[in-house]
Symmetry: C2
Subunit: 251 residues, 2 copies
């Protein structure tokens, strides 16, 4: 019993050996054609050892997600009010990216396997859902008391996950050759621009670009860098934003 | 064979009888404790009839999703370039809401059942994923050739689905008492404001409020209704949008 209580933290060799054996067989024979008995036989351990680490054959395909989800939850739990909430969930999503990027060969192999096996796709959807709930729960807490707080939390969490996964899949399709971090940063920036909220007055320094403190109302040294926008008050917001994007040269 | 080819369109009484029998038993005994044999016995038909309509016991819990997904795909397929893309996918999402709202009692019963049975939650995730893919595929087509087209498509589709589901769950938790349409409209408006793109120059009239044609540059009859915004060009977009929301009294 003592070994099972220390197993998750130590990530022992037996667990790694089971994952390695499983993937060797999945690649050689296919996922469906490989049994748990085949895996434990190749790894040289008993069935009970397998099920100590993995509740099912599906779980051995995603050996690091439970740990990553725990890391994400812990990361969000140590947030403080100075953290801009949308930026914070983007940073939390980067923990998932890091897990994939740490082992490109394994990640690409698993991506191909998952595309081929419908049961694994369903499993992956449930994993993604749990990440999304973790992000949404954090945002619900931050937006508590705000109008449409749960709506905003759910929508932003879904957008962050979709952006992350779009970038992750793009990197996996490149066989893990590209710069995973830069791809995900670009995707998450799109979501941040759409949804970010300002840092509260009591906090400082959550914006790394350092420009937000002097944005409005202050004198401008370079008149060419000032944009004047005139709009009817009843204009649809999307139209106004589009005009701004054009004026700012960002469209 | 001829009856099976006409079955989906006709939505015959036998199919409805199977759904009614299944839900009667699910509510009386629980989902796990009800077998397909129990269902066909109560409905007074044979096992083959059940499997003609439903591939599995899970499918009888969501009898209308296949039809709704087909409706959504058809709806998006008849889109034309004049449809503002984000508004179009919001309208497509409303087809799902309508399916739920047409039968509040059934929808609320199913919501409670799905919350209790993990297998049904997993099934529902796969259904939601298919709706999201349908919306994303449409948007990818509309955004083809645009910078970050697939990223925008995936993020917006996820945001629309999350907003729809946030509103839908809120309505289901109210036991189907509230105004489902108004709740979903409110949620989708939040996504539209964050992401909407303008109608192309060749199209007219995709905005039902009719204001967008005269928004910028034209004379205004009521100076009180004009907002003048001055901003530095290097301001973060989210900050500018936040100022606009405040100025427009929408924050």
């Amino acid at each position: 019993m003592s070994s099972s209580s220390t197993a998750p933290a130590a990530k022992p060799a037996m667990r790694d050996a089971l994952v390695a054996a499983a993937f060797q067989l999945f690649l050689e024979r296919g996922y469906e054609q490989t049994t748990v008995d085949d895996i434990v036989s190749l790894a040289g351990v008993g069935r009970r050892s397998f099920f100590r680490y993995f509740p099912s054959k599906e779980d051995v395909v995603f050996p690091d997600h439970e740990g990553c989800l725990a890391d994400m939850t812990a990361f969000l739990a140590v947030s403080d009010p100075r953290h801009e909430p949308v930026r914070r969930v983007c940073d939390a999503a980067r923990l998932v990216l890091r897990m994939y990027a740490e082992n490109p060969t394994f990640s690409v192999q698993r991506y191909r396997l998952t595309k081929q096996v419908p049961g694994l796709r369903a499993y992956e959807l449930s994993v993604v859902w749990r990440y999304e709930r973790a992000l949404a729960d954090y945002l619900r807490g931050r937006f508590a008391g705000r109008r449409d707080g749960t709506l905003r939390a759910d929508v932003i969490a879904a957008a962050v996950v979709a952006a992350h996964n779009n970038a992750l899949r793009s990197w996996l399709r490149s066989d893990g050759e590209g710069d995973a971090g830069a791809t995900v940063d670009h995707a998450l920036r799109y979501v941040q621009e759409a949804f970010s909220t300002p840092a509260p007055d009591t906090g400082v320094g959550t914006d790394t670009d350092g420009t937000s403190a002097a944005l409005f109302g202050g004198p401008t040294e370079h008149p060419d860098d000032v944009v004047v926008l005139v709009s009817r008050r009843d204009a649809p917001l999307w139209r106004v934003v589009q005009e701004i994007e054009t004026a700012f040269g960002r469209a």
